[in-house]
Protein backbone atom coordinates (compact mmCIF):
# COMPACT_ATOMS: atom_id res chain seq x y z
CA UNK A 1 0.00 0.00 0.00
CA UNK A 2 1.44 3.36 -1.05
CA UNK A 3 2.04 6.03 1.57
CA UNK A 4 -0.42 8.31 -0.15
CA UNK A 5 -3.08 5.60 -0.03
CA UNK A 6 -2.41 4.93 3.65
CA UNK A 7 -2.52 8.64 4.43
CA UNK A 8 -5.79 8.90 2.53
CA UNK A 9 -7.35 6.11 4.59
CA UNK A 10 -6.15 7.66 7.86
CA UNK A 11 -7.36 11.10 6.74
CA UNK A 12 -10.75 9.63 5.89
CA UNK A 13 -10.98 7.98 9.33
CA UNK A 14 -10.19 11.32 11.01
CA UNK A 15 -12.66 13.08 8.70
CA UNK A 16 -15.33 10.56 9.72
CA UNK A 17 -14.69 11.31 13.38
CA UNK A 18 -14.74 15.08 12.81
CA UNK A 19 -17.83 15.00 10.60
CA UNK A 20 -19.85 13.30 13.33
CA UNK A 21 -18.19 15.06 16.28
CA UNK A 22 -21.15 14.98 18.67
CA UNK A 23 -21.99 11.37 17.89
CA UNK A 24 -18.33 10.44 18.36
CA UNK A 25 -18.09 12.17 21.76
CA UNK A 26 -21.34 10.56 22.91
CA UNK A 27 -20.17 7.15 21.66
CA UNK A 28 -16.78 7.43 23.40
CA UNK A 29 -18.39 8.62 26.66
CA UNK A 30 -21.07 5.91 26.61
CA UNK A 31 -18.53 3.24 25.75
CA UNK A 32 -16.25 4.50 28.53
CA UNK A 33 -19.01 4.29 31.15
CA UNK A 34 -20.05 0.87 29.87
CA UNK A 35 -16.47 -0.41 30.08
CA UNK A 36 -16.12 1.24 33.50
CA UNK A 37 -19.10 -0.79 34.78
CA UNK A 38 -17.39 -3.99 33.63
CA UNK A 39 -14.16 -2.62 35.12
CA UNK A 40 -15.76 -2.22 38.58
CA UNK A 41 -16.57 -5.93 38.61
CA UNK A 42 -13.14 -6.81 37.33
CA UNK A 43 -11.50 -4.62 39.97
CA UNK A 44 -13.61 -6.23 42.68
CA UNK A 45 -12.68 -9.64 41.33
CA UNK A 46 -8.96 -8.85 41.12
CA UNK A 47 -8.88 -7.49 44.70
CA UNK A 48 -10.95 -10.27 46.25
CA UNK A 49 -8.85 -12.84 44.47
CA UNK A 50 -5.67 -11.20 45.75
CA UNK A 51 -7.18 -11.12 49.22
CA UNK A 52 -8.23 -14.77 48.99
CA UNK A 53 -4.81 -15.89 47.86
CA UNK A 54 -3.16 -13.84 50.66
CA UNK A 55 -5.51 -15.47 53.19
CA UNK A 56 -4.83 -18.88 51.73
CA UNK A 57 -1.14 -18.26 52.27
CA UNK A 58 -1.71 -17.45 55.93
CA UNK A 59 -3.89 -20.43 56.63
CA UNK A 60 -2.25 -23.24 58.50
CA UNK A 61 -3.62 -26.72 59.00
CA UNK A 62 -3.54 -28.13 62.53
CA UNK A 63 -2.96 -31.89 62.67
CA UNK A 64 -3.83 -32.95 66.25
CA UNK A 65 -2.35 -36.20 67.49
CA UNK A 66 -3.87 -38.78 69.74
CA UNK A 67 -2.68 -38.53 73.37
CA UNK A 68 -1.40 -42.07 73.73
CA UNK A 69 1.10 -42.04 70.85
CA UNK A 70 4.59 -43.38 71.32
CA UNK A 71 7.55 -41.25 70.30
CA UNK A 72 8.17 -43.67 67.41
CA UNK A 73 4.62 -43.35 66.03
CA UNK A 74 4.87 -39.55 66.27
CA UNK A 75 8.15 -39.71 64.37
CA UNK A 76 6.56 -41.90 61.69
CA UNK A 77 3.69 -39.46 61.29
CA UNK A 78 6.17 -36.59 60.97
CA UNK A 79 8.13 -38.49 58.32
CA UNK A 80 4.91 -39.31 56.42
CA UNK A 81 3.84 -35.67 56.50
CA UNK A 82 7.25 -34.42 55.43
CA UNK A 83 7.24 -36.85 52.51
CA UNK A 84 3.93 -35.44 51.29
CA UNK A 85 4.49 -33.09 48.33
CA UNK A 86 1.54 -30.96 49.36
CA UNK A 87 3.25 -30.06 52.64
CA UNK A 88 5.34 -26.91 52.44
CA UNK A 89 6.45 -26.56 56.05
CA UNK A 90 5.85 -28.44 59.27
CA UNK A 91 6.28 -27.56 62.96
CA UNK A 92 5.74 -29.89 65.89
CA UNK A 93 3.92 -28.44 68.92
CA UNK A 94 4.18 -30.69 71.98
CA UNK A 95 1.46 -30.90 74.64
CA UNK A 96 3.61 -28.80 76.99
CA UNK A 97 4.27 -26.17 74.33
CA UNK A 98 0.54 -26.04 73.50
CA UNK A 99 -0.27 -25.43 77.16
CA UNK A 100 2.38 -22.73 77.45
CA UNK A 101 1.07 -21.04 74.29
CA UNK A 102 -2.49 -21.15 75.63
CA UNK A 103 -1.45 -19.67 78.93
CA UNK A 104 0.47 -16.86 77.28
CA UNK A 105 -2.30 -16.09 74.78
CA UNK A 106 -5.22 -16.37 77.21
CA UNK A 107 -3.80 -15.65 80.68
CA UNK A 108 -7.26 -14.86 82.10
CA UNK A 109 -8.62 -18.30 81.15
CA UNK A 110 -5.54 -20.36 82.18
CA UNK A 111 -7.10 -21.19 85.54
CA UNK A 112 -9.73 -23.27 83.71
CA UNK A 113 -7.07 -25.78 82.67
CA UNK A 114 -5.46 -25.82 86.09
CA UNK A 115 -8.75 -27.14 87.52
CA UNK A 116 -8.51 -30.26 85.34
CA UNK A 117 -5.36 -31.49 87.02
CA UNK A 118 -3.80 -32.73 83.78
CA UNK A 119 -2.89 -31.07 80.40
CA UNK A 120 -5.92 -31.60 78.11
CA UNK A 121 -4.31 -30.01 75.07
CA UNK A 122 -3.13 -32.44 72.39
CA UNK A 123 0.24 -32.42 70.66
CA UNK A 124 0.01 -31.28 67.06
CA UNK A 125 1.77 -30.57 63.82
CA UNK A 126 1.25 -27.08 62.37
CA UNK A 127 1.30 -27.61 58.62
CA UNK A 128 1.71 -24.92 55.98
CA UNK A 129 0.69 -26.38 52.66
CA UNK A 130 2.67 -25.93 49.45
CA UNK A 131 1.49 -23.02 47.22
CA UNK A 132 -0.22 -25.29 44.69
CA UNK A 133 -2.24 -26.99 47.45
CA UNK A 134 -3.69 -23.88 49.05
CA UNK A 135 -6.99 -23.71 47.21
CA UNK A 136 -9.99 -24.58 49.34
CA UNK A 137 -10.58 -27.78 47.36
CA UNK A 138 -6.95 -28.93 47.61
CA UNK A 139 -6.93 -28.08 51.30
CA UNK A 140 -10.05 -30.14 51.90
CA UNK A 141 -8.61 -33.11 50.01
CA UNK A 142 -5.35 -32.91 51.95
CA UNK A 143 -7.18 -32.64 55.31
CA UNK A 144 -9.19 -35.78 54.52
CA UNK A 145 -5.98 -37.59 53.60
CA UNK A 146 -4.22 -36.50 56.81
CA UNK A 147 -7.24 -37.46 58.90
CA UNK A 148 -6.85 -41.05 57.68
CA UNK A 149 -3.26 -41.38 59.03
CA UNK A 150 -3.25 -43.69 62.07
CA UNK A 151 -2.51 -41.71 65.24
CA UNK A 152 -4.07 -38.49 63.95
CA UNK A 153 -6.96 -37.42 66.18
CA UNK A 154 -8.28 -34.48 64.18
CA UNK A 155 -7.35 -32.16 61.34
CA UNK A 156 -8.53 -28.56 61.53
CA UNK A 157 -8.15 -25.46 59.45
CA UNK A 158 -10.19 -22.37 58.95
CA UNK A 159 -12.29 -24.11 56.35
CA UNK A 160 -15.33 -21.85 56.53
CA UNK A 161 -13.32 -18.72 55.85
CA UNK A 162 -11.44 -20.17 52.95
CA UNK A 163 -14.53 -21.69 51.38
CA UNK A 164 -16.68 -18.61 51.91
CA UNK A 165 -14.07 -16.40 50.30
CA UNK A 166 -13.56 -18.84 47.45
CA UNK A 167 -17.34 -18.89 46.97
CA UNK A 168 -17.53 -15.09 46.85
CA UNK A 169 -14.66 -14.96 44.38
CA UNK A 170 -16.45 -17.52 42.20
CA UNK A 171 -19.71 -15.51 42.29
CA UNK A 172 -17.88 -12.29 41.42
CA UNK A 173 -16.11 -14.13 38.61
CA UNK A 174 -19.41 -15.36 37.15
CA UNK A 175 -21.04 -11.92 37.64
CA UNK A 176 -18.05 -10.23 35.96
CA UNK A 177 -18.31 -12.60 33.00
CA UNK A 178 -22.09 -12.11 32.61
CA UNK A 179 -21.94 -8.33 33.08
CA UNK A 180 -18.88 -8.23 30.84
CA UNK A 181 -20.65 -10.06 28.02
CA UNK A 182 -23.83 -7.97 28.28
CA UNK A 183 -22.03 -4.64 28.50
CA UNK A 184 -19.53 -5.59 25.79
CA UNK A 185 -22.47 -6.33 23.51
CA UNK A 186 -23.89 -2.93 24.48
CA UNK A 187 -20.57 -1.26 23.60
CA UNK A 188 -20.44 -3.05 20.27
CA UNK A 189 -23.99 -1.86 19.54
CA UNK A 190 -23.18 1.75 20.49
CA UNK A 191 -20.10 1.78 18.26
CA UNK A 192 -21.97 -0.02 15.48
CA UNK A 193 -24.66 2.67 15.55
CA UNK A 194 -22.08 5.45 15.44
CA UNK A 195 -20.41 3.86 12.44
CA UNK A 196 -23.80 3.35 10.86
CA UNK A 197 -24.46 7.08 11.12
CA UNK A 198 -21.05 7.77 9.58
CA UNK A 199 -21.80 5.33 6.75
CA UNK A 200 -25.19 6.90 6.20
CA UNK A 201 -23.83 10.44 6.11
CA UNK A 202 -21.14 9.41 3.61
CA UNK A 203 -23.12 6.93 1.53
CA UNK A 204 -22.77 9.07 -1.60
CA UNK A 205 -19.00 9.08 -1.24
CA UNK A 206 -19.06 5.32 -0.74
CA UNK A 207 -21.10 4.95 -3.94
CA UNK A 208 -18.59 7.09 -5.83
CA UNK A 209 -15.67 5.07 -4.53
CA UNK A 210 -17.42 1.88 -5.63
CA UNK A 211 -18.05 3.40 -9.05
CA UNK A 212 -14.40 4.26 -9.65
CA UNK A 213 -13.21 0.78 -8.72
CA UNK A 214 -12.32 1.01 -5.04
CA UNK A 215 -12.13 -2.41 -3.45
CA UNK A 216 -14.39 -3.13 -0.51
CA UNK A 217 -11.30 -3.18 1.74
CA UNK A 218 -10.34 0.32 0.62
CA UNK A 219 -13.87 1.54 1.33
CA UNK A 220 -14.13 -0.23 4.69
CA UNK A 221 -10.74 0.50 6.26
CA UNK A 222 -11.52 4.12 7.37
CA UNK A 223 -14.68 2.93 9.12
CA UNK A 224 -12.88 0.03 10.78
CA UNK A 225 -10.21 2.47 11.93
CA UNK A 226 -12.90 4.79 13.25
CA UNK A 227 -14.53 1.94 15.20
CA UNK A 228 -11.17 0.85 16.55
CA UNK A 229 -10.41 4.42 17.63
CA UNK A 230 -13.79 4.73 19.37
CA UNK A 231 -13.24 1.44 21.22
CA UNK A 232 -9.69 2.37 22.15
CA UNK A 233 -10.64 5.85 23.38
CA UNK A 234 -13.67 4.47 25.24
CA UNK A 235 -11.66 1.80 27.05
CA UNK A 236 -8.78 4.19 27.83
CA UNK A 237 -11.24 6.73 29.24
CA UNK A 238 -12.92 3.99 31.28
CA UNK A 239 -9.55 3.18 32.87
CA UNK A 240 -9.10 6.84 33.77
CA UNK A 241 -12.59 6.89 35.33
CA UNK A 242 -11.89 3.65 37.20
CA UNK A 243 -8.50 4.85 38.46
CA UNK A 244 -10.06 8.10 39.72
CA UNK A 245 -12.89 6.17 41.41
CA UNK A 246 -10.43 3.67 42.85
CA UNK A 247 -8.19 6.38 44.36
CA UNK A 248 -11.23 8.14 45.81
CA UNK A 249 -12.42 4.88 47.38
CA UNK A 250 -8.95 4.15 48.78
CA UNK A 251 -8.78 7.65 50.22
CA UNK A 252 -12.17 7.18 51.92
CA UNK A 253 -11.09 3.80 53.32
CA UNK A 254 -7.86 5.33 54.63
CA UNK A 255 -9.81 8.13 56.33
CA UNK A 256 -12.11 5.66 58.09
CA UNK A 257 -9.93 4.50 60.99
CA UNK A 258 -11.80 1.20 61.49
CA UNK A 259 -10.48 -0.02 58.14
CA UNK A 260 -6.92 0.78 59.11
CA UNK A 261 -4.48 -0.99 56.85
CA UNK A 262 -7.11 -2.30 54.43
CA UNK A 263 -6.25 0.41 51.88
CA UNK A 264 -2.77 -1.06 51.46
CA UNK A 265 -4.33 -4.36 50.38
CA UNK A 266 -6.32 -2.71 47.58
CA UNK A 267 -4.66 -2.82 44.17
CA UNK A 268 -5.53 -1.33 40.78
CA UNK A 269 -5.12 -3.31 37.55
CA UNK A 270 -1.49 -4.03 36.71
CA UNK A 271 -0.15 -2.28 33.58
CA UNK A 272 -0.36 -5.49 31.50
CA UNK A 273 -4.05 -5.84 32.33
CA UNK A 274 -4.67 -2.16 31.44
CA UNK A 275 -3.06 -2.83 28.04
CA UNK A 276 -5.23 -5.94 27.59
CA UNK A 277 -8.38 -3.95 28.49
CA UNK A 278 -7.51 -1.21 25.98
CA UNK A 279 -6.89 -3.91 23.35
CA UNK A 280 -10.26 -5.48 24.18
CA UNK A 281 -11.85 -2.04 23.67
CA UNK A 282 -10.09 -1.72 20.33
CA UNK A 283 -11.27 -5.18 19.29
CA UNK A 284 -14.87 -4.47 20.33
CA UNK A 285 -14.72 -1.20 18.36
CA UNK A 286 -13.59 -3.09 15.27
CA UNK A 287 -16.37 -5.62 15.84
CA UNK A 288 -18.95 -2.80 16.01
CA UNK A 289 -17.67 -1.32 12.74
CA UNK A 290 -17.57 -4.70 11.09
CA UNK A 291 -21.17 -5.33 12.08
CA UNK A 292 -22.32 -2.01 10.58
CA UNK A 293 -20.29 -2.53 7.41
CA UNK A 294 -21.83 -5.96 7.03
CA UNK A 295 -25.32 -4.55 7.36
CA UNK A 296 -24.43 -1.65 5.07
CA UNK A 297 -23.12 -4.11 2.47
CA UNK A 298 -26.38 -5.98 2.67
CA UNK A 299 -28.27 -2.71 2.26
CA UNK A 300 -29.81 -2.84 5.76
CA UNK A 301 -27.91 0.03 7.37
Amino acid sequence: MSVRRLLYLLREAVANVLTNRTTTVVAVATTAFTFACVGVFLLLYVNLRAMASSLEQDIQVMVYLQDDLTEQTRGEIELQLKADRAVGALTFVSKERALADFQSQFPAESHLLQGLGRNPLPASFVVTLAVESRSSEAMRRWANRAQAIPGVAQVQYNQEWVEALAGIVRYIEVAAIIVGIILSAASVTIIANTIRLALYSRREEIEILGLIGASSTFIRVPYLLEGAALGLLGSALSLVILKAGFELFRHEIRSASRFLGVDTLLTFFPVEMCVVLVCVGLFLGCAGSFLSLLRFGEGRA
Partner: protein
Protein backbone atom coordinates in the same frame (compact mmCIF):
# COMPACT_ATOMS: atom_id res chain seq x y z
CA UNK B 1 -15.18 -5.25 -27.37
CA UNK B 2 -18.64 -5.19 -25.74
CA UNK B 3 -21.09 -7.94 -26.63
CA UNK B 4 -24.57 -8.47 -25.23
CA UNK B 5 -26.37 -11.71 -26.03
CA UNK B 6 -30.13 -11.86 -25.37
CA UNK B 7 -29.79 -9.86 -22.17
CA UNK B 8 -32.89 -9.34 -20.02
CA UNK B 9 -33.16 -7.55 -16.70
CA UNK B 10 -36.10 -7.28 -14.32
CA UNK B 11 -36.72 -5.09 -11.28
CA UNK B 12 -39.39 -6.72 -9.10
CA UNK B 13 -40.87 -8.50 -12.12
CA UNK B 14 -40.91 -5.21 -14.05
CA UNK B 15 -39.03 -5.64 -17.28
CA UNK B 16 -36.15 -3.14 -17.61
CA UNK B 17 -34.35 -4.75 -20.54
CA UNK B 18 -35.73 -7.39 -22.83
CA UNK B 19 -33.68 -9.70 -25.03
CA UNK B 20 -31.03 -7.10 -25.92
CA UNK B 21 -28.32 -8.22 -28.29
CA UNK B 22 -25.56 -5.72 -29.12
CA UNK B 23 -22.04 -5.60 -30.39
CA UNK B 24 -19.89 -2.52 -29.82
CA UNK B 25 -16.43 -2.37 -31.36
CA UNK B 26 -13.32 -0.97 -29.73
CA UNK B 27 -13.03 2.78 -30.36
CA UNK B 28 -16.69 3.24 -31.29
CA UNK B 29 -18.78 6.23 -30.18
CA UNK B 30 -22.30 4.99 -29.56
CA UNK B 31 -25.37 6.94 -28.53
CA UNK B 32 -28.03 5.13 -26.54
CA UNK B 33 -31.22 7.04 -27.18
CA UNK B 34 -34.69 6.61 -25.79
CA UNK B 35 -37.20 8.13 -23.41
CA UNK B 36 -36.97 7.91 -19.61
CA UNK B 37 -37.47 4.32 -18.45
CA UNK B 38 -36.35 2.90 -21.79
CA UNK B 39 -33.56 0.91 -20.11
CA UNK B 40 -30.54 3.08 -21.01
CA UNK B 41 -29.26 3.48 -17.44
CA UNK B 42 -29.91 -0.20 -16.72
CA UNK B 43 -27.77 -1.13 -19.71
CA UNK B 44 -24.91 1.06 -18.43
CA UNK B 45 -25.25 -0.40 -14.92
CA UNK B 46 -24.95 -3.89 -16.39
CA UNK B 47 -21.75 -2.88 -18.17
CA UNK B 48 -20.04 -1.81 -14.92
CA UNK B 49 -21.25 -4.84 -12.97
CA UNK B 50 -23.56 -2.74 -10.76
CA UNK B 51 -26.40 -5.04 -11.80
CA UNK B 52 -26.51 -8.57 -13.10
CA UNK B 53 -28.82 -9.71 -15.91
CA UNK B 54 -31.46 -12.31 -15.20
CA UNK B 55 -30.99 -13.74 -18.67
CA UNK B 56 -28.32 -13.57 -21.34
CA UNK B 57 -24.65 -12.88 -21.29
CA UNK B 58 -22.45 -9.79 -21.40
CA UNK B 59 -18.86 -9.95 -22.61
CA UNK B 60 -16.37 -7.11 -22.13
CA UNK B 61 -13.06 -7.73 -23.86
CA UNK B 62 -14.10 -11.37 -24.19
CA UNK B 63 -14.70 -11.79 -20.44
CA UNK B 64 -18.18 -12.73 -19.23
CA UNK B 65 -19.39 -10.26 -16.59
CA UNK B 66 -21.75 -12.81 -15.06
CA UNK B 67 -18.73 -14.98 -14.22
CA UNK B 68 -16.94 -12.18 -12.38
CA UNK B 69 -16.44 -12.72 -8.67
CA UNK B 70 -17.48 -9.76 -6.46
CA UNK B 71 -13.80 -9.04 -5.77
CA UNK B 72 -13.18 -8.71 -9.54
CA UNK B 73 -15.83 -6.04 -10.11
CA UNK B 74 -13.59 -3.20 -8.82
CA UNK B 75 -10.94 -4.35 -11.32
CA UNK B 76 -13.50 -4.08 -14.15
CA UNK B 77 -14.55 -0.61 -12.99
CA UNK B 78 -10.94 0.58 -13.02
CA UNK B 79 -11.00 0.03 -16.79
CA UNK B 80 -14.27 1.92 -17.23
CA UNK B 81 -14.82 5.65 -16.79
CA UNK B 82 -18.27 6.74 -15.69
CA UNK B 83 -19.81 10.19 -16.16
CA UNK B 84 -23.18 10.88 -14.55
CA UNK B 85 -25.78 13.60 -14.94
CA UNK B 86 -25.40 14.72 -11.30
CA UNK B 87 -21.56 14.70 -11.50
CA UNK B 88 -21.12 12.84 -8.19
CA UNK B 89 -18.13 14.89 -7.08
CA UNK B 90 -17.04 14.99 -3.45
CA UNK B 91 -17.82 18.54 -2.32
CA UNK B 92 -15.28 18.60 0.52
CA UNK B 93 -12.37 17.54 -1.65
CA UNK B 94 -10.53 19.77 -4.07
CA UNK B 95 -10.79 19.31 -7.82
CA UNK B 96 -7.33 17.72 -7.74
CA UNK B 97 -8.31 15.25 -5.01
CA UNK B 98 -11.55 14.35 -6.79
CA UNK B 99 -9.74 13.58 -10.03
CA UNK B 100 -6.98 11.68 -8.25
CA UNK B 101 -9.40 9.24 -6.57
CA UNK B 102 -9.38 6.52 -9.29
CA UNK B 103 -5.57 6.53 -9.24
CA UNK B 104 -5.47 6.50 -5.46
CA UNK B 105 -7.68 3.42 -5.19
CA UNK B 106 -5.39 1.65 -7.65
CA UNK B 107 -2.37 2.42 -5.50
CA UNK B 108 -0.62 4.77 -7.94
CA UNK B 109 2.46 6.61 -6.68
CA UNK B 110 2.36 10.27 -5.69
CA UNK B 111 4.45 11.27 -8.72
CA UNK B 112 2.19 9.32 -11.10
CA UNK B 113 -0.93 10.79 -9.53
CA UNK B 114 0.39 14.34 -9.87
CA UNK B 115 1.38 13.80 -13.50
CA UNK B 116 -1.82 12.07 -14.63
CA UNK B 117 -4.19 14.37 -12.74
CA UNK B 118 -2.47 17.45 -14.16
CA UNK B 119 -2.76 15.94 -17.67
CA UNK B 120 -6.42 15.04 -17.21
CA UNK B 121 -7.29 18.49 -15.85
CA UNK B 122 -5.37 20.14 -18.69
CA UNK B 123 -7.29 18.08 -21.26
CA UNK B 124 -10.58 19.43 -19.90
CA UNK B 125 -9.15 22.94 -19.50
CA UNK B 126 -9.33 23.08 -15.72
CA UNK B 127 -5.73 22.71 -14.57
CA UNK B 128 -5.85 26.25 -13.18
CA UNK B 129 -8.76 25.31 -10.90
CA UNK B 130 -7.24 22.23 -9.31
CA UNK B 131 -7.26 23.70 -5.79
CA UNK B 132 -10.90 24.79 -5.85
CA UNK B 133 -13.77 22.81 -4.36
CA UNK B 134 -16.63 21.55 -6.61
CA UNK B 135 -19.30 23.84 -5.13
CA UNK B 136 -17.19 26.80 -6.29
CA UNK B 137 -17.36 25.65 -9.93
CA UNK B 138 -20.04 26.18 -12.58
CA UNK B 139 -22.13 23.17 -13.66
CA UNK B 140 -20.18 22.88 -16.90
CA UNK B 141 -16.91 22.93 -15.00
CA UNK B 142 -18.18 20.32 -12.57
CA UNK B 143 -19.07 18.06 -15.48
CA UNK B 144 -15.60 18.56 -16.93
CA UNK B 145 -14.04 17.60 -13.59
CA UNK B 146 -16.23 14.52 -13.68
CA UNK B 147 -14.92 13.70 -17.18
CA UNK B 148 -11.33 14.26 -16.01
CA UNK B 149 -11.95 11.85 -13.14
CA UNK B 150 -13.46 9.29 -15.53
CA UNK B 151 -10.52 9.44 -17.93
CA UNK B 152 -7.56 10.02 -15.61
CA UNK B 153 -6.55 6.35 -15.52
CA UNK B 154 -6.89 5.81 -19.27
CA UNK B 155 -10.04 3.64 -19.32
CA UNK B 156 -10.85 1.31 -22.23
CA UNK B 157 -14.37 2.70 -22.34
CA UNK B 158 -16.26 5.71 -21.08
CA UNK B 159 -19.91 5.38 -20.10
CA UNK B 160 -21.92 8.57 -19.74
CA UNK B 161 -25.46 8.58 -18.39
CA UNK B 162 -27.31 11.74 -19.41
CA UNK B 163 -24.08 13.77 -19.17
CA UNK B 164 -25.71 16.90 -20.54
CA UNK B 165 -28.93 16.64 -18.55
CA UNK B 166 -28.01 19.60 -16.34
CA UNK B 167 -26.30 21.68 -19.02
CA UNK B 168 -27.45 24.35 -21.46
CA UNK B 169 -26.92 23.81 -25.25
CA UNK B 170 -23.62 25.73 -25.25
CA UNK B 171 -22.14 23.64 -22.43
CA UNK B 172 -23.59 20.52 -24.05
CA UNK B 173 -21.50 21.28 -27.17
CA UNK B 174 -18.39 21.69 -25.01
CA UNK B 175 -18.93 18.35 -23.34
CA UNK B 176 -19.64 16.58 -26.64
CA UNK B 177 -16.44 18.02 -28.08
CA UNK B 178 -14.57 16.66 -25.09
CA UNK B 179 -16.08 13.23 -25.63
CA UNK B 180 -15.12 13.37 -29.29
CA UNK B 181 -11.51 14.19 -28.45
CA UNK B 182 -11.39 11.37 -25.88
CA UNK B 183 -12.86 9.01 -28.47
CA UNK B 184 -10.27 10.18 -31.00
CA UNK B 185 -7.61 8.90 -28.59
CA UNK B 186 -9.09 5.38 -28.92
CA UNK B 187 -11.47 5.18 -25.97
CA UNK B 188 -14.82 3.52 -26.66
CA UNK B 189 -17.62 5.87 -25.65
CA UNK B 190 -21.24 5.03 -24.89
CA UNK B 191 -23.49 7.97 -24.11
CA UNK B 192 -27.01 7.37 -22.84
CA UNK B 193 -29.17 10.39 -23.52
CA UNK B 194 -32.58 11.58 -24.59
CA UNK B 195 -31.20 15.02 -25.47
CA UNK B 196 -31.76 15.75 -29.23
CA UNK B 197 -28.93 18.35 -29.05
CA UNK B 198 -26.48 15.53 -28.41
CA UNK B 199 -27.88 13.51 -31.29
CA UNK B 200 -27.52 16.53 -33.57
CA UNK B 201 -23.86 16.92 -32.69
CA UNK B 202 -22.78 13.30 -32.68
CA UNK B 203 -23.10 11.72 -36.07
CA UNK B 204 -22.25 8.23 -34.94
CA UNK B 205 -24.03 4.93 -34.28
CA UNK B 206 -27.34 5.42 -32.52
CA UNK B 207 -29.08 2.59 -30.68
CA UNK B 208 -32.61 3.42 -29.65
CA UNK B 209 -34.25 1.69 -26.75
CA UNK B 210 -37.89 1.75 -25.80
CA UNK B 211 -39.49 -0.14 -22.94
CA UNK B 212 -36.36 -2.21 -22.55
CA UNK B 213 -36.13 -3.29 -26.17
CA UNK B 214 -33.80 -2.21 -28.96
CA UNK B 215 -36.12 -0.57 -31.46
CA UNK B 216 -33.58 0.76 -33.94
CA UNK B 217 -29.88 0.65 -34.79
CA UNK B 218 -28.71 3.45 -37.02
CA UNK B 219 -25.20 3.50 -38.31
CA UNK B 220 -24.33 7.10 -39.19
CA UNK B 221 -21.13 7.69 -41.01
CA UNK B 222 -19.04 10.40 -39.33
Amino acid sequence: MIQLFHVSKYYDRRLALSDVTLDIEKGEFVLLMGPSGAGKSTLLKLLIGAERPEEGQILVQGRSLSKLRPSEIPLLRRKVGVVLQDFRLLPKKTVFDNVSLPLLVQGASTVEIRRKVTEALRSVGLDHKKDLFPPGLSTGEQQRVCIARATVNGPIMLLADEPTGNLDPELTSEIIELFKSINARGTTIIVATHDPNVLAQVNRRVITLDQGKVVSREQVCP
